[in-house]
């Protein structure tokens, strides 16, 4: 393969903070410089080569063979290039990413794509809580880009989402799109309780009308041209063209919100 390949020497004994080790950072480095790159490991900082076998030539693609749920911050701060993980990752994967593609073949921990502003994350497995959400203490979650979760998403996905698109093929946990500000989240499976609570704007695309907080108002079924447009512009949303009409529920009106939940009419 082209690019750099990292293979863990052994299962990590402590959490590894991979934040900032992105194709844009590794690309200009020689293999030797890469080996000496400092990585937080538990309470210590160790050279990258102490944790990984490193092969290949830096060229904008980074492959982590055999992921690890203790590997945190994979792809965090990515600006360009491609980072592939052939297995699971820990928390904060793709946090603050602004460009490039992060592909994860396994599961991801909490805060996947938190505060993402651009680029694309593709997760083959399940995501933990707070996917695409705001970091603790932050006012805004992801503002752009795409997060595609092929499995299920944990609680509070899209919390305080400000923009961009989250595609969840499976179920979404409790509190989906809590305090959502804008953007779109699509759920292919079931949606947990309290979805949309505190929603200001933004869109939840559901396969059926979920149980919603009291502040949601049913505006009825409508033929929406916007769904046909979304179906064409986003291949993963092609199913929307078959909806015919859509039930539109607006909320959270108790807080003056104008967010919407759309489901087949």
């Amino acid at each position: 393969m082209s690019g750099v390949s990292l293979k863990p020497r052994a299962p990590f004994e402590a959490r590894v903070d991979f934040s900032g080790i992105t194709p844009a950072v590794t690309g200009p480095l020689t293999l030797r410089e890469l080996e000496h790159l400092a990585v937080p490991h538990g309470t210590r900082s160790v050279p990258l080569a102490e944790l990984f076998f490193i092969e290949g030539a830096p060229d904008g693609v980074l492959l982590i063979e055999i992921g690890d749920a203790r590997l945190d911050g994979v792809g965090a701060g990515m600006l360009e290039g491609e980072l592939i993980v052939d297995g699971p990752v820990g928390a904060w994967a793709g946090r603050g990413m602004a460009g490039g593609i992060l592909r994860i073949a396994g599961t991801a921990g909490d805060f996947l794509g938190a505060e993402l502003s651009g680029g694309r994350i593709e997760l083959a497995g399940d995501a933990g809580a707070h996917a695409g959400a705001a970091s603790s203490g932050s006012r805004r979650g992801m503002s752009g880009g795409v997060i595609k979760i092929s499995g299920h998403a944990g609680a509070r996905a899209a919390e305080r989402q400000r923009g961009g698109l989250i595609l969840i093929d499976g179920d979404a946990g409790e509190g989906l799109a809590t305090d959502m500000i804008a953007g779109t989240v699509s759920v292919g499976g079931a949606i947990g309780p309290l979805a949309g609570r505190g929603m200001k704007r933004g869109t939840i695309l559901a396969t059926s009308v979920p149980a919603l907080p009291a502040g949601f108002v049913d505006t009825g079924a409508h033929e929406l041209v916007a769904l046909a447009l979304l179906a064409r512009r986003v291949p993963e949303l092609a199913r929307l063209k078959d909806w015919g009409s859509a039930r539109r529920l607006v909320g959270d009106t108790l807080l003056g919100g104008q967010g919407e939940v759309l489901a087949p009419g």
Partner: protein, 304 residues
């Protein structure tokens, strides 16, 4: 140069730089898309009196449009970008937004941005909904019929306005028949419009007037009823002249349309009453684009 007995005069059409944009308007049915297109491009024959020149470029099948519904593509040209930014949102707001079932999308992605929903979204009085997919933002405006969907803006091009040729014929009927044939053939050329009624002008103009304040007046040298009273460009057998005016997104597009149109007019031929093909110019001193008829007609399938 003679084609099918029709003289191609050794002259050129003189055209000007214009700034243009393309809108894609869709609707539930082809009929409503056409209504929206015709309304939006109405009263847009000449920048002299209308502020812009606009027409339907072509109809679009459902497969060709962003939302999978039938549509039309419209080209709108103005003399400068500032004017274009004013006229497009006005026409969009009055003629597309108001038309049942329509939506409007950008037809050009490059160049300076011309506002669409960026301007007219305020009609929704705070209920407008924005969606950004990739780098493109579109807006949903609640209206009494449902929702109006519109891209935030569209791109623009530096195009060419005022390409033209004149059909000199023995009679009004012959001129009209040749003009109709030319318009039909030119309709297949992408990137151009013929902004006048049915694509044809019967009142071609010259620059200036004897009356103060008029920028243009009747092109008396080509008026058959004035022959003998004024210097005339018409041979004795010519009884009627019609003009085809062409605006396009590029010199090449206008040149190709000119070639195709003249070819079609000449197909009517001397036997059909067509005498000559001429062109309007101002001596080459005003417009930087010169479409030399004989060069164009000598270039099969290409620009002069």
């Amino acid at each position: 140069m003679i084609i099918n007995g029709v003289e191609i005069r050794d002259t050129f059409a003189e055209a000007f730089p214009m700034v243009g944009t393309r809108l894609i308007v869709t609707a539930d049915t082809p009929e409503w898309a056409l209504i929206a297109g015709r309304t939006t491009t109405g009263f847009a024959t000449s920048v002299i009196g209308c502020g812009c020149e606009a027409a339907i470029e072509r109809t679009l099948s459902a497969e060709e449009t962003p939302d999978g519904r039938p549509g039309v593509s419209l080209l709108i040209f103005a003399m400068d970008f500032g004017s274009l930014k004013k006229v497009v949102p006005l026409r969009l707001g009055q003629c597309v937004l108001t038309c049942p079932t329509t939506a409007c999308y950008a037809g050009i992605e490059t160049g300076k941005r011309v506002p669409l929903a960026k301007t007219i979204r305020y009609f929704a009085d705070g209920h407008q909904i924005s969606k950004k997919i990739g780098n493109k933002r579109f807006w949903r405006l609640p209206v009494m019929e449902g929702e109006f969907v519109c891209d935030e803006d569209t791109g623009s091009v530096e195009g060419v306005g005022g390409g033209n040729f004149l059909i000199l014929a023995r009679s009004r009927g012959a001129a009209l028949k040749a003009a109709e044939a030319a318009v039909a053939a030119m309709g297949k050329v992408e990137g151009i419009i013929l902004p006048f009624p049915g694509g044809v002008v019967r009142s071609g103009s010259k620059v200036g007037s004897k009356y103060k304040g008029l920028f243009a007046s009747s092109n008396d040298a080509y008026c058959p009823t004035l022959r003998g009273t004024r210097p005339s460009a018409l041979p004795p057998e010519v009884g009627s002249v019609l003009e085809i005016v062409i605006d396009g997104v590029s010199f090449a597009a206008v040149a190709e349309a000119t070639r195709v149109g003249i070819q079609a007019a000449c197909a009517v031929g001397q036997e059909g009453g067509v005498v000559a093909i001429d062109a309007g110019n101002y001596g080459g001193n005003l417009g930087p684009f010169h479409f030399k008829l004989r060069e164009i007609m000598g270039t099969e399938g290409g620009a002069a």
